[in-house]
């Protein structure tokens, strides 16, 4: 059932060969072909722009009021590319290898190698669009380091890289709108895929301003709808981020791959109370300059600055001397949890560790700047002041954000941080061409499963989103559409549209007519607690079985007691949210099922039953070197399909960052 369509040949020649031999659509025919793109983050906006430029007729949809607000905008630290501008030994191969290893050998080699190859084109394209990346005084581009690598290959724009890249893609998209190649539908939410003779041929979308259901035809449909981290309720995702589009496709037959592979990011602002609606990330790039520590003494209540150097445990530097504070995210998160669970956590809740900038403020930046200015024997105050100026330029917006949220000044006292849900590596299964197992239905960016295995390295999400949109799908979609040039647009009066719209309308009516007592938000919070507790940073068989039963019970309760105010034919954010939470509940069950099936630890998926003596994740390549692709069969009923992963170049070894 699952044909990954990986081209034959040498790893480094597959993509070149593919591009040389895939089918093409001539410009006159492109104008007759319509493509629907759902989501306008980095993947969606870049795909819409690139396909519009090629001459296809594109319809793009987003639920926000403008495509510029998609959640890619919040990415902070940077974007990787194998440019080797730093002359520090980087190459396409190293980026490929780091990504496969960082993903704990659960990603496809061919996809990852292609990603590394096109990474260099992304930076060129973005600079040409006017993306203001950080530069050196000589006028050339600057780089920083990220976790899981030993080179500096991350391009950035202060702590706002996602914003600048998305604005670049958004502007390219708006240019195509102006040229008439793309029609933009903002404040629209896709609620189902329309299938005609086994192929995806359109969508049903709800206009979120007036509540009307609308039908749209496309020769192909691209889902670029992001990740499903909000299944945990609290995450670094935007409030509107949801799984609905992908989940509807899943229920129409698209398999969902590795749903239990979720990324818990080590450096986020800790939870402060029950009122909390979301968590805020503090970029991984801060680990370039911040050192993570907890007191050596359990339950030490002194203020951070009162704890002397020798009484601090820099546990990442202690446990992982080779990578230190720059170990991959999954490793850093588990290490923080281990310290807090053992009673060394800080802050009022004890669920936090320190991220401290003082050492590098003084020693790295302060001394360098003093040296530049020719100040001999600078005093501590001077070093702090000079260091602060540099740090402000690198991360000023993040420091300001931290202070607004916590009321503490991170230049003076260390940040308190704790891991939080950030990214989902799982997603719709796609083949090498980014097509799901439904013909004509593609999935790009975070919404698909393809490139990050069981753990994504920092600064690789932006890279994948733009790679898929600018440089992969413009080629692979032609290979499909070349055979569709004779297909006339299907009128939206076709019975498939009729029936699909009716099913969507029925579901909305059912939801509105429950008229129960509990709010949508309260169900979402309860779901989040179950998933975080049993399918979060650490998982075990008993817990997962318990969680599945709890989620099933929650689902029954939701469908008999949810209370949704207002009406259907109007702007009704509670109704929008209810549909999304209903889908999250179903997904939550599948995540636990997948986590239960995968009785090994790998990357972000940590099964307590499978660990080394030192408490590190222990993979089981013999039994689990596969992609778990789940086919939906009916309520609480899925069939597992396995795509075996073959590693010809990056041979799996126990991942070590020591």
């Amino acid at each position: 059932m699952l044909d990954s369509k990986i081209p034959v040949g040498k790893l480094e020649e597959k993509w070149v060969d593919y591009k040389g031999h895939c089918k093409l659509v001539n410009p006159a025919n492109k104008r007759k072909l319509e493509i629907i793109i759902v989501g306008t983050g980095l993947a969606g906006a870049s795909a819409a722009a690139a396909l519009g430029e090629l001459g296809y007729k594109v319809k793009a949809f987003c639920f926000q009021d403008s495509p510029r607000r998609a959640h890619s905008i919040a990415a902070q630290g940077g974007i990787n590319a194998a440019k080797n501008y730093q002359n520090d030994g980087d190459s396409v191969f190293r980026l490929f290898y780091d990504t496969v290893k960082g993903g704990d050998y659960r990603a496809r080699e061919a996809n990852v190698h292609r990603l590394a190859e096109v990474s260099v084109n992304i930076i060129d394209q973005c600079v040409a669009q006017g993306v203001p990346f950080a530069r050196e005084y000589g006028g050339l581009l600057n780089n920083r380091s990220f976790g899981g690598t030993q080179v500096k290959r991350t391009f950035y724009a202060a702590g706002q890289t996602g914003q600048q890249l998305l604005i670049g893609a958004y502007q390219a998209l708006e240019r195509q709108v102006a040229l008439g190649n793309v029609t933009m539908y903002a404040r629209h939410e896709m609620l189902d895929v329309v299938m005609v003779e086994g192929k995806a041929r359109g969508i049903i979308a709800r206009n979120l301003v007036n509540g009307e259901l609308e039908r749209y035809f496309g020769h192909a449909v691209l889902l670029c709808t992001g990740g499903y981290g909000n299944v945990f309720y609290l995450s670094t995702n935007a409030m509107g981020s949801n799984v609905t589009a992908a989940w509807k496709a899943h229920k129409k037959g698209a398999t969902f791959a590795n749903p239990c592979f979720t990324q818990i990011h080590p450096t986020c602002i800790p939870v402060s109370g029950d009122h909390q609606s979301k968590l805020t990330l503090m970029s991984e790039s801060l680990r370039n300059d911040g050192r993570i520590w907890v007191p050596k003494q359990k339950g030490d209540k002194r203020k951070a600055n009162d704890i002397p150097e020798e009484e601090r445990d820099y546990y990442l530097e202690r446990r992982y001397p080779a990578f230190g504070n720059l170990v991959p995210r999954d490793v850093a998160s588990r290490a923080a949890k281990e310290r807090c669970d053992a009673g060394y956590g800080v802050g009022t809740t004890g669920q936090a560790v320190y991220l401290d900038f003082k050492y590098n403020l003084i020693n790295k930046y302060g001394k360098t700047e003093a040296g530049k200015l020719g100040i001999e024997n600078p005093d501590l105050e001077t070093l702090m002041r000079l260091g602060k100026e540099v740090v402000k330029e690198e991360y000023g917006n993040l420091f300001d954000m931290y202070e607004k949220i916590t009321g503490e000044n991170p230049y003076e006292v260390p940040m308190r941080i704790y891991p939080a849900v950030h990214y989902t590596m799982g997603g719709l299964w796609v083949d090498y061409e980014l097509m799901t197992n439904i013909k004509g239905l593609y999935c790009l960016g975070e919404a698909n499963f393809s490139d990050h295995g069981a753990n994504r390295l920092g600064a690789s999400a932006l890279m994948q989103g733009l790679a898929d949109g600018y440089f992969v799908v413009p080629y692979t979609i032609g290979n499909y559409l070349a055979d569709e040039i004779a297909t006339k647009p299907i009128p939206i009066t076709h019975e498939a549209f009729e029936q699909t719209e009716k099913a969507v309308a029925d579901r909305i009516n059912t939801l509105m007519n429950i008229k129960g007592k509990q709010t949508v938000e309260s169900f979402h919070k309860r779901l989040g607690k179950i998933i975080w507790e049993y399918c979060g940073m650490s998982r075990n068989e008993a817990g997962l079985k318990h969680a599945i039963a709890e989620v099933q019970a929650l689902k029954k309760e939701f469908w008999s007691d949810v209370k949704i105010p207002g009406g259907i034919k109007e702007m009704n954010p509670e109704l929008d949210k209810a549909g999304r939470v209903a889908d999250f509940i179903e997904l939550g069950e599948l995540m636990c099922k997948d986590a239960l099936d995968r009785n090994e630890s790998c990357g972000g998926h940590f099964r307590e039953e499978s660990q080394t003596e030192e408490g590190e994740a222990k993979r089981d390549d013999e039994n689990y070197a596969y992609v778990a692709a789940w086919e939906y069969k009916g309520e609480s009923d899925w069939v597992l399909h396995k795509e075996q992963l073959n590693f010809e170049i990056a041979k799996p070894t126990q991942r070590s960052y020591k």
């Binding site: 950080a134 000589g138 409030m239 609606s277 607004k404 105010p565």
Partner: protein, 254 residues
């Protein structure tokens, strides 16, 4: 940081849809923690309203970390509330004390019609970008990123202008509902970079023309826009836009 709880009175603009005339409603809110964000306080109120069988307050919000530009509340007469360089979602309740009354309105501007309650239609901004807020470069024909060296000061100034989040606070704060800070930020971002050079003249002309067409007012250099901008976009960008616009008008080589 010490935290405390407070009781507040909210006066919120309620408007069912674009054609409704709208009115203020008064709501007491109790036991609000100083650690909550402003939007979390609205969440608490909305949960209460739903339980009482009333319609919750509609408002735009998404990232809740000050970068998407969706949130847009006019709080006690100031876009995004009392803090400097801040968005509504990043405003925290420690800005208030027990017993305070807070008035919350939508952005008010002809070019931003109210959709519902505190939600307005800002699609005019997208159309201004469509008029020229981009560099016309198709995917795939870029040269190596380091082929063009860019003087760091210009790159930094372009970045500062590009930090605009398109929230519309500048328009809401302006007595003339002018969008000139928004337009000038985009024109400056692209004019400061060599890549933006070839389209400088048409960009400035076309974006300003579209801004006028959308019904935004004229700029009278009051500076309210700069004072409330969550990303501290400088009014110097307006001066730069004026120069760009003048140059485009004077040297027309078409």
């Amino acid at each position: 940081m010490e935290h405390y709880n407070m009781n507040l009175t909210l006066k919120v603009w309620r408007q069912k849809n674009a054609s409704d005339s709208g009115r203020f409603e008064t709501y007491p809110v109790k036991n609000i923690s100083s650690e909550m964000s402003f939007l979390e306080m609205i969440d608490v109120l909305n949960e209460e309203l739903i339980k009482e069988g009333k319609d919750p307050i509609a408002f735009d919000h998404d990232c809740r970390e000050g970068i998407c530009g969706a949130c847009s509340m006019y709080i006690n007469g100031r876009p995004h509330g009392p803090w400097q360089a801040n968005t509504t979602c990043q405003l925290h309740m420690r800005a208030y004390k027990d017993g305070d009354t807070i008035v919350v309105e939508p952005w008010r501007a002809n070019a931003f019609p109210v959709v519902k309650d505190l939600v307005v239609d800002r699609s005019a901004f997208d159309r201004i970008i469509q008029a020229g807020g981009y560099i016309s470069v198709n995917t795939g024909n870029a040269v190596d990123a380091n082929a063009i060296a860019i003087n760091k000061d210009n790159a930094d100034a372009a970045f500062a202008a590009a930090a605009c989040i398109g929230c519309g606070a500048c328009v809401a704060a302006c007595k003339n509902s002018s969008a000139l800070l928004f337009v000038s930020a985009k024109v400056s971002h692209l004019a400061l970079l060599p890549q933006g050079g070839p389209e400088r003249k048409t960009r400035a002309m076309n974006m300003v023309a579209q801004m006028d067409k959308e019904g935004f007012g004229a700029c009278t250099n009051t500076g309210a826009c700069e004072a409330v901008c969550p990303k501290e976009i400088s009014i110097e960008n307006i001066a730069r836009l004026n120069r760009e616009y003048m140059m485009a008008g004077v040297i027309s080589d078409k």
